[in-house]
Each structure stands twice: as C-alpha cells, then as structure tokens.
C-alpha cells in the first residue's frame, strides 16, 4: 500500500471511527488502533472544553459533550495547531441550539477571548503621550488583540456571572443587536458592552489606520458638531485608558 493511500485511509478511519474503515489498513497488532481513536477524540474534546469553559458550565456536561461529540464527528481538524479547532464550534452550537441564541453567543465571546489572548503584541498609546501628539496628522489604529461582537442576547452578562462563579441570570433576547468589545490589556483578556455610537467609531479603527480628523468627521456627520466632538473626546480618552489604541510611530 502506498504511503499516501495508507495515510488517507488512516485519517478516514480516525474521523469516522467505523471498524470497517480500518479493514483496509495493513496492520499488525490491530488492537492497538483503539489507542489512536481514543487519543484523537480526547484531544479534540479537551480543546473544546478548555476553550469554552463557561459555555460548558451554562449547558452542563451532558449537553456540551454531546454537542462536542457531534461536532467532532462532522468537522475534522485542519490546522497545524489544535487551538484552531475551536473556531468552528460556535457554528455547530448555533445549529444544535438554534432557539437558544445565548449558547452560540456565549461561545463566540469565549472564542474571541481565546483569540485575544494570543493576538499579536503592539505598543499601546498611553494617556500621558496624548498631549505630545500632532493631532492634525496623527493616524489611529486599534490593537490587534481587539474584536467587536454583535450580540442579540445577554450572553455578556451570562459570561461575566459564570466567570465569577456566580449564579447567572436567565437568558434573554435583547433586540436590537448590541456590541460587545473583547480585548487584551496587560496580558489579561477583558470585555465590556459598547454604546452603539462608540461601537460604530471603534469599528472604523478596526478596519485600518484612520486619521484623527477623519474620525472626527465621522462623529460630526453622525451627531452634529458639538455632540460629535464631545463624544469623540470622551471615547478616545477611554480607549486610550483601556489600552485599545496603538501608539503612533513618531
């Protein structure tokens, strides 16, 4: 048997777990196959349980591990790193718990937190640096360890309660969609709910460097000159205090 055929067949059997799929493998000591099957599923299950601890706590062991087992049966891992296997799980949860939107949204929060944890480092703009900037020329950019989620439920409240070991509130739909900010600051991942306007402006910075003047124009066009300038001043001050903005290159 050619090596490529053997490897393709072996992986096919790992994914299916069906004994018949192993029959074509030219094995000695075939009973040892069970070890590889167990390792494969245990590794993937551990990845999902470690990445989504609060989703697990919300669903309970039985429902979470049943959903994880279904996901593992349907979605083989593709990346060089096991961590990436978590990426597809929120979509599977959405399918499995279609009416309970908080489940997939809770998992989206945890996935965003795990991405922020290992996102690229960047020097952040510190409050004391603001006075020395040339605001007519400065370009602002969000740190790589930042994402904005649009949620339809109180999943952020659920996550916060579960993460603190508190009894979570009941799940609620919260129409219209609201934005939740996830970011890393000084090694710790955080989240907070954003006001609609703040989310819109911060989203602009996520798409690439933006001159401060352009950001002001956006704010003024939305809320008028007085309120626009006031809002951008308040939000920019908070973004800098939260470590959301990359320090501009001198």
């Amino acid at each position: 048997m050619r090596l490529s055929t053997l490897q393709s067949s072996f992986l096919g059997w790992l994914a299916s777990g069906e004994e018949s799929d192993a029959a074509c493998l030219p094995l000695r000591r075939a009973e040892g196959l069970a070890v590889y099957q167990n390792n494969y599923r245990a590794n993937l299950m551990a990845c999902l349980a470690e990445t989504f601890p609060q989703t697990l706590a919300w669903l309970g062991d039985e429902a979470f591990y049943a959903a994880a087992a279904t996901h593992i049966d349907r979605v083989p891992p593709h990346s060089w790193t096991l961590d990436d296997y978590a990426d597809g799980f929120p979509a599977s949860l959405q399918e499995a718990f279609g009416d309970d939107h908080e489940v997939s949204e809770l998992s989206l929060i945890e996935l965003a937190l795990s991405h922020a944890f290992v996102a690229e480092d960047a020097p952040v703009l510190r409050p004391e640096q603001m006075a020395g900037l040339d605001w007519d020329a400065v370009c602002l950019q969000a740190i790589p360890a930042l994402s904005i989620l649009m949620l339809s439920t109180n999943a952020a409240d659920l996550w916060a309660a579960l993460a603190e070991g508190e009894t979570p509130p009941a799940a609620q739909e919260c129409a219209p969609l609201h934005a939740v900010l996830v970011w890393r600051r000084e090694g710790l991942c955080r989240l907070r709910v954003l006001e609609e306007g703040e989310a819109a402006l911060l989203a602009l910075l996520l798409s690439g460097p933006l001159e401060f003047g352009q950001l002001c124009e956006q704010a003024i066009s939305r809320w008028g000159e007085e309120q626009g300038v006031l809002s951008i001043g308040q939000w920019l001050s908070r973004w800098v205090c939260d470590g959301l903005i990359i320090a501009p290159v001198e």
């Binding site: 090596l3 060089w80 090694g187």
Partner: protein, 274 residues
C-alpha cells in the same frame, strides 16, 4: 563538567511562576514548540522571560515529518520565527506523521517502516533543516500498531535517517520500552543498533498499562525498566541532555526535581563505569 546543558525539565503551566522567579536547579527547560508559535500575548512573554535564565529546547509535535505530501510552509515559517527569537540549543520533533492533505490528527501516528516512507521522511527532514537553518533531532515514537508490510525495524529506519540527512536523535527511552513491550522486541537490541554519535538528547517519561498494552501517557513517574534503559543509553551518550516529560497529573516541582536527581545519579554511575 559537561560543556552543555545536561539535566532539564519541561516547562508546564503549574510551574510557570517558579521558573519565572528563577533559581530552579535545572540546566535547561524544554517547551512544546506549538504552544509558543503564536503571534503574541502571555505565552510568548513567559517564554521570553524564562529564556533569560535558562537555555531552551524546542520540542515539536506537529511538523509531521512522515507526511507523504510534504511539510506545510506556514508551519515552518512560524517555527523559524520562534527559533530565531528563542535561539534554542536543541530543536526536535517526532518520527511520525500527524497530517495528510487538509486533515490533521493532532496525534503522533505510526509510520510503516518501508523504503518509500524513509524517502519521504528524509526529504521532509532535509527540507526542515534547510528552512530552519539548523540541525534537528528526531525522536523515536511509542506505537500501538505495526504494519504488515514493514521492510525494516524502527532502529534500522532511524539509523538510515541519520546517515542520509545528518539529523540527530532524541532518544526517548520510555518510548523504546512501551513499543518493545507492545510489539515484542528487545529494548537491548534496539539500543545496540542506535548510532549513539547522533544522540544529543534523551527523554524520560511515565506510562500506563492499558487494555491494549502499554500507553505513553506522561502522567506517571519514570518506571524502573526505563531507568535501566537510561543507564545503558548514558553509557553510550554521556553528554546527551536528559529531561523528564510530564504532561498530565503534574506533581509539585520538588517531586520532578527529585526524579531528575535520580537521572543525575545514574549519569554519574554510568560515567564512573565508562
């Protein structure tokens, strides 16, 4: 005195703070490369800080040198970036395959020991050494199945790999014991055929008895048969760097340091008898 680091432990999360505080009496630490092949954040920062105090061995689990369709460029590029930053004194991965096509098993899967597989592994190891700009060590695996069309033993396969690529060997004496028991070969025969000139590192670990034979679990202390194999290996490779792998059921650091002390004592005995 040995001219290079000789006794080390794996850097694992429960012991991060102790290693960051410095002063842990080891000559080096070993880390799983993939855990630190990330863009940034706390994992990379911890490794940078620990690197200031300890030489580092990078030990990979996902290169997949046995993949029939070659190595992945993105993997090699990330590993190269980590190597350039950390400057490890040892860089290793396993004699196994983990991936074919787009499907990655995230496990160390067994290779058939046939000429075609040897050609594949030699080509992949040569390419990796070229891209990474340095010699790699390849570790013997533990295995739970064999293949009916094997054309050579594992030790013959490894010896030819060393001869053809110039790679070094990471000899895992626990893996030798596990595979010897599972497949019914002699650990002594295995060691007798190893080209010890190429052995730069030795792994120790624990295993468990499973329903299908011994399993390389890394969740136990090192067993007596494995200590005996270490003694033999050190008689032939006295300068090899020795470390203990513990990935589950991780005990307090003093317990692992005591085990490492036993390895030091065995090395001294082996040196006196040489």
């Amino acid at each position: 005195m040995p001219s290079k680091p000789q006794f080390g432990l794996g850097l694992r999360k429960p012991h991060y703070q102790e290693f960051l505080a410095g002063g842990v009496p080891v000559d080096f630490i070993e880390v799983i490369s993939e855990n630190f092949m990330v863009a940034g954040g706390r994992p990379r920062e911890i490794l940078r800080r620990v690197r200031r105090d300890y030489p580092v061995a990078l030990h990979g689990v996902s290169m997949s040198v046995g993949s029939a369709d070659g190595l992945r460029d993105d993997y090699l590029a990330r590993l190269r970036a980590l190597v350039d930053e950390i400057e490890p004194f040892i860089l290793s991965d396993h004699l196994c395959w983990a991936r074919f096509g787009a499907h990655n098993s995230h496990d160390l899967l067994p290779l058939p020991y046939i000429a075609e597989a040897l050609d594949v592994v030699c080509a992949n190891v040569a390419r990796a050494q070229d891209v990474l700009g340095r010699r790699m060590l390849i570790e013997n695996p533990s295995s739970y199945v064999g293949f009916a069309h094997d054309e050579m033993s594992e030790w013959e396969f490894l010896a030819q790999l060393v001869a053809r690529t110039g790679c070094g060997l990471l000899l895992d004496v626990n893996n030798i014991h596990v595979s010897a028991v599972n497949h019914g070969f002699s650990s002594v025969d295995y060691l007798a055929a190893i080209p010890f000139d190429a052995v730069e590192q030795i792994h120790l670990a624990g295993h468990r008895q499973g329903a299908q034979g011994l399993i390389d679990t890394h969740d136990q202390s090192v067993s007596d048969p494995v200590w005996a194999l270490l003694r033999v290996a050190l008689e032939h490779a006295p300068q090899a760097a020795v470390m203990i792998e513990r990935d589950d059921n991780i005990p307090p650091l003093p317990e692992l340091l005591a085990e490492l002390g036993r390895a030091r004592a065995i090395a001294m005995e082996a040196a006196l008898c040489a």
